[in-house]
Structure formats: structure tokens, C-alpha cells
Symmetry: C2
């Protein structure tokens, strides 16, 4: 886990990690949230409702978004992170079981008086397609 | 699970549900995401780093945000939901184990050509304090 303090972080700093989507992750996410929507487990329903856009059930968008927590909490800035807000969070392409996601964050702005950093985050799949993007504001508590 | 079609949904429509935060939810979320940040499990660290703001470890912000998935997927619109994007997602107050969160969504806009609804979401705790807010754009696939 990184332990960057506010002073350690320069504009342009980038951190990145990978996560493979599994059925077990989806099942755990469903249990936590109670979101039993069939789009996220019923292949036939997903294929029908998606009108050919989906090859199987689609992973929860908010499961992909949960990796924004990991980016802030482990990588950028790591230990002294406190997520303040997220803007422009979008889901560009569907994510499926077996996809290997690369989550990359780059520092775009620093607000010295608040010890706040603005991190632009992109999540790509194994085909280098962007599946999700967002701008996070993160307080650095040291 | 609600099964609202786009035509069923009027501006002003509101849906709401409750979730109690447990240590088991936090542990599952940590396992899914790999976010092992001590703010979310180490009471002493959270109290120290929070400078008196936190009474114990703080629940993951993105765990609270994961209930936005539940709101869309089970309640508004329910079965035919596909989350498109989320704006202005903010974390206003810390959430702790044992907190009972009320997630409320209200339809603010409808885009007929895209079958898209804009839902304003507020998450309050048992003291009726807002802990998180966001604006979600959701495609209604029927």
C-alpha cells in the first residue's frame, strides 16, 4: 500500500493496477447490495434485453466502480486517502466475467488549502477499450 | 423487484429502501476490491487520522455508493435498468457499522428519445443526516 503524503504528490503522477472479474465477485456484490437484477446473472435475459449488445449477463457497473475505492485507498494516495466526491462517472462498455480490467488514475489538480487532489480515472478491459471513466476528488489526510 | 417500463415513469416518482451496515458487508467489500486501507478496519488509525471526526473505522464510501446499484436495479426502474452514468456523487458524512441507511431516489428528468431517466439520489442515516448524494442517468430498456 502506498503512503503518499500531500506534499509527495505532483500533478501528472499516475498509478495503475489490474483486477479480473469473477462470478464470485458478482455473487458477493449481489449479497452486499441486494441488487438481484437479472441483467447481472441471467444470460438469456441479458441477451434478450440487450438486443444483441450483450453476449452474456453483464457485470454490475457499480462493481467496476468499487475499484475506484481500491485506486484511492491503496495506490493514489494510499493509506491517507479519504474520497470526497466523484464526478462524471460513466459506463462506456459492458463488463463480463473473465474480463481483466486495468484501473489507471492520474493526478490532474491539487488544492493546497484543502489537501485535496483531483484524480482522473480510466478503466480499460483486456482489449484496451475504456469501460468506465470518472474524476475523483480525494482528501489526503497527511 | 419493480418492473417499470419507460412509459410508466413520471417525473417526481420516488422509491426508497433501507440497508443496515454490517462488518460482514465491509469484509466482503474489502475482499472484492482488495482495498485494505486501515481507515476501513482499524479503529485506532481512523480516530487518529480523523483528528476526532471519526468515532471508529469508517465504512467504505463506495460501499454506500454500491446501494445506488440496488436503487436502480430493484426499485427505480427495477428489472429493465441499465445505469448509464453518475454525476455529483459526494460523501457528506462518515458511515459506521450499525448505521441504518435510507436510500431514496426521485425522477427529475426524462429523455424520451433515449429512454433515459435522471434520478436524484439521497442517502441518509438513522439521524436523518445526508451521508451521500448523487444524480444518476439510467436507461430503461423497455
Amino acid at each position: 500500500m502506498n503512503e503518499y503524503c500531500f506534499e509527495d504528490i505532483q500533478i501528472g503522477k499516475t498509478e495503475s493496477f489490474q483486477k479480473k472479474i469473477t462470478v464470485e465477485m458478482e455473487n458477493s456484490f449481489r449479497e452486499i447490495t441486494g441488487d438481484t437484477n437479472p441483467l447481472h446473472w441471467d444470460d438469456a435475459f441479458a441477451i434478450e434485453v440487450g438486443n444483441g449488445k450483450f453476449k452474456s449477463h453483464v457485470s454490475f457497473g457499480m462493481l467496476t466502480a468499487s475499484f475506484y475505492s481500491t485506486l484511492a485507498g491503496k495506490y493514489l494516495p494510499g493509506k491517507y486517502s479519504l474520497i470526497h466526491s466523484i464526478d462524471n462517472l460513466s459506463f462506456k462498455k459492458p463488463v463480463f466475467v473473465g474480463d481483466v480490467l486495468t484501473v489507471t488514475g492520474t493526478v490532474k489538480e491539487k488544492y493546497d488549502d484543502l489537501k485535496l487532489i483531483c484524480v482522473s480515472v480510466t478503466v480499460t478491459n483486456q482489449d484496451e477499450k475504456v469501460v468506465s471513466k470518472a474524476d475523483m476528488k480525494i482528501l489526503v489526510q497527511k
